[in-house]
Point group: D2
Chain length 304, copies 4
């Protein structure tokens, strides 16, 4: 068993002295104010241990990381019928997100690109009685933490500037792949992305995906097969146009968010979360990617 705490501390030291810390995203105005020096890392093993360094208890905007939790809730609610409305293939080049939707008749390539996540939001909206409240309660329950909140000003900031998401949602609607009104779906979607969590909360929320579908309190959230499938989708599609690179360098299923967070996991062993807001050219956390690469190199743990 490696000494996880000292490995995390070594990575932390290297990270805070890194010269290139990436660039904080500015396209969501409310997120542009994040402290670029923020760095946290948290590890939760399935045998119950936790390890943290840096700002691992400071909340940040989880953004696209929420897509995995929304997907898991949708699978729990409606099962495999999801796959009639969204595919499971990597999306290839980022320039062509809307192009692919046009060619492929409104079926998004996978549930972790924006258009796919908007379809998932539409499914949740149709299948939850009080969508925003129920979804937040789901997160609170799997994290075992009642303090988690939407950030209304971040949600509002996306609502008034998220024109590409409006474009994608309207294109989906034109292909009859949204059942609810565009504004309602995006209101839910922007709230979902605005959730704020800490590294340690995220490690706990994703615990069930490393644990055959069973959450921290050992309640089945998904079947073992469903959990495996979400892990497979994270591996092939979790990092935009850098999914192959992440599989190649890190070798774990994971998901990044534009707020600077990354969650990754090794089935049956651990969940690990990093946060550092500076992004690389492909939109993933610069230091988070490096930290996870070092972690799997130093611990020799990966799915490959």
């Amino acid at each position: 068993m490696p000494n996880f705490q000292s490995i995390l501390e070594a990575i932390h030291q290297e990270a805070i002295h890194a010269k290139d810390k990436g660039v904080v995203a500015s396209y969501i105005p409310e997120l542009a104010h994040i402290n670029p020096e923020h760095f946290g890392m948290h590890l939760k093993t399935l045998d119950g241990q936790s390890y943290g360094v840096g700002d691992y208890n400071v909340p940040f905007s989880i953004q696209s990381i929420s897509k995995v939790l929304a997907l898991s809730k949708a699978m729990a609610l409606v099962g495999e019928s999801i796959w009639e409305r969204v595919d499971v293939e990597p999306s290839g080049h980022p320039f062509n997100q809307l192009a692919l939707l046009e060619i492929e008749n409104g079926i998004p390539r996978n549930p972790l690109i924006n258009s796919g996540a908007i379809v998932i939001a539409d499914i949740l909206l149709s299948n939850l009685e009080h969508p925003k409240e129920d979804f937040l309660n789901y997160i609170k329950a799997i994290t075992n933490d009642d303090t988690i909140r939407y950030n209304e000003s971040v949600a509002f900031s996306e609502k008034v500037t998220g024109f590409k998401n409006y474009a994608a949602a309207n294109l989906l609607k034109s292909f009859n792949n949204l059942n609810n009104r565009v504004d309602d779906v995006l209101d839910f979607y922007f709230h979902q992305c605005s959730i704020e969590m800490t590294c340690s909360q995220l490690s706990e929320a994703f615990f069930f995906l490393a644990n055959k579908g069973n959450c921290l309190k050992n309640i089945a959230q998904l079947s073992e097969t469903q959990a495996k499938r979400i892990n497979a989708i994270m591996l092939t599609c979790g990092f935009y146009d850098e999914a192959g690179e992440f599989a190649f360098e890190v070798g774990l299923p994971g998901k990044s968010g534009v707020g600077g967070g990354i969650v990754a996991l090794l089935p049956d062993q651990f969940v690990i979360t990093t946060c550092s807001p500076g992004l690389n050219k492909k939109g993933n956390s610069q230091l988070g990617m490096l930290a996870l690469e070092q972690f799997t190199t130093k611990t020799k743990r990966s799915i490959f």
Copy 2:
């Protein structure tokens, strides 16, 4: 001088007996009720003669034909600065309209595809004091006809079903190529497209483009160079993915609309308008295309 009236009558006879009259567009619900047997054709020569056959005095929805009139008004208002926001190149394959916008950083390929026409609508909205009223007055003035109207129920029908146009407008907005609110621009745009005119009114409205910029009442609407440029754009971009085919078979600058209308013109000689609501696979009037091809073949008149 050919006997224009007898040529039009021969074409009319052939058209009403044609087996394949195309398919009436159904994507704008309000337009799906058009009588598929409607056929009209009207010719206005620059020496002042008019010739008509069939339903040439029955109003129909001009739809995309309005884009040429909107473009001409925008050129009159702001001149060549238009070309900073929209290009003048044919768009190629129809599947990739939004794709090209993504690649080309939100600059539509030309002002006659939907995304380009939405930019033009944005320009009119910014530069007319009472946009809807002023634009309609412009059409009335160049047509010399005070009876022309918006069709509010067609405009509303597009407003509640035109998701692809909302997608395009939001994508333009995300590239900072719309100055007004998406909803306001599209409200204007859907009204513009809903205008109803007859074949003879359209021949009169487009008279100035065949007449060096001077309308029926001999008032300069555009400079001679501007009129030529609009004609050039109609020739290369006026028929979606069938622009080359129309240039090849008919050989006149022109513009079609999904309501079944086509206006074409030979500079210094005439304007000719057809209406027949059945569309071919590329979205242009089936019988209108055939009628114009026969007209230029029988009269040996084309720009080539």
Copy 3:
């Protein structure tokens, strides 16, 4: 009647003093040696007059201009059956030439992009007894000039560096849209492009397209309809991704070549040819485009 000679001389003076003369193409090594100061312009009117300035009697490599002559020969040989193998639509964005071939099942968008011209070369190869000799004789005949030659070293230079053309030809072959061997088709094609002509020879060669299909010696090379159709294709497709711009600024059917030549014509009135080897960003002669724009502005002659 404008004083054509003095107009040409004014344009010539402006051209030789232009600061930005574009950049000589270097991708065909043998062409990289051209004198960048070379500038010629020649006008041939249908009433039999000729006007020339600068280097209008100096031969240069006609390159893609040859595609129009090859197309006209193919139309003369096999008529409208050409259009089963090549379309007549503008190609849109240059990046996607091979992409469009892939999507559109090996049918090139038009006969003036490389893939389309390679299909035309294949047709000539199948329908001429001695292809290279016969095609050159055709050019000599319509130009009424026996001195025109292939430049073997330019043809060889393309043969050993023209990998994109080999890629296009093999892709066509994979879709069964080449009947002859790739190497044979490209050998013919590279020779066709290597032909050297002067501005005045080109004005004479293209005379028949302005003259209802009848060449200088009044022999019918094509029907009037066929000549019109080739003019339509030149207008919509003759300038790569700048076809719309050329129609907009110049307003004449025409064709450019990477050797720096441009031929344009006004049906029933004249043919005009320029040569200046510096190219603009879209691959068309920088000064040639400007010279023709000035010519149509000063003479107020265009098809629009």
Copy 4:
């Protein structure tokens, strides 16, 4: 420990009674003669056991499966410098293979699509003294079997019909991403693909990738990290446009070939190979995909 032999036998029974066995590829004429009833499956565990059912000792054309072995040899020869010439990202939609090459300046998306494998073939050609002989000897050595052969008539069949590969190679050459002559690279590539092996030979050849880089005879062929990286690439890119689906349904790194073979592996545990020549719509073995899905379901073994 599951009873592997009885699991394989149950899968075999189901496979031979399957109604839809897919369609044998016909684009390589020499491969069209395969017996569509051929079905074999072979499992090799890292503890030294072997299990086989059906035609697991009948040789078949490994085709694209060879790309993984070529990649591993290239990594052994030149290390990480490979990644200057080829990327590691999934390719997305199949229609756009050449399109992506055009956009991405001749850098193939990954080494397992044809264009990437052609670059790898070029690297082997430059770095092996006797390329064809040396590469075959490498396969023989890692398989510990001297009987493996190229099938010259299959290689020749591809040479005279593989126009899409010629198109890709010429496009790479145009971007200076091939150092050797196109014909030489493709001659090597077609030979590499023509190798014939049995299921059991393939399980043995791929043993080193499941065994931290060490082959059956415990000789290091690659470092542990390099082996992991190849596994990561197989997972994200090994099944054309069905990579996500295979990760989702099967959950193992693997590679398919158009000859009907699939090799997959679970690091530290086993290699499994299937062959059945009927292909599904995405070009992967219909029964092979089903058999592997059942195997991982029944044994609950996957990387996720």
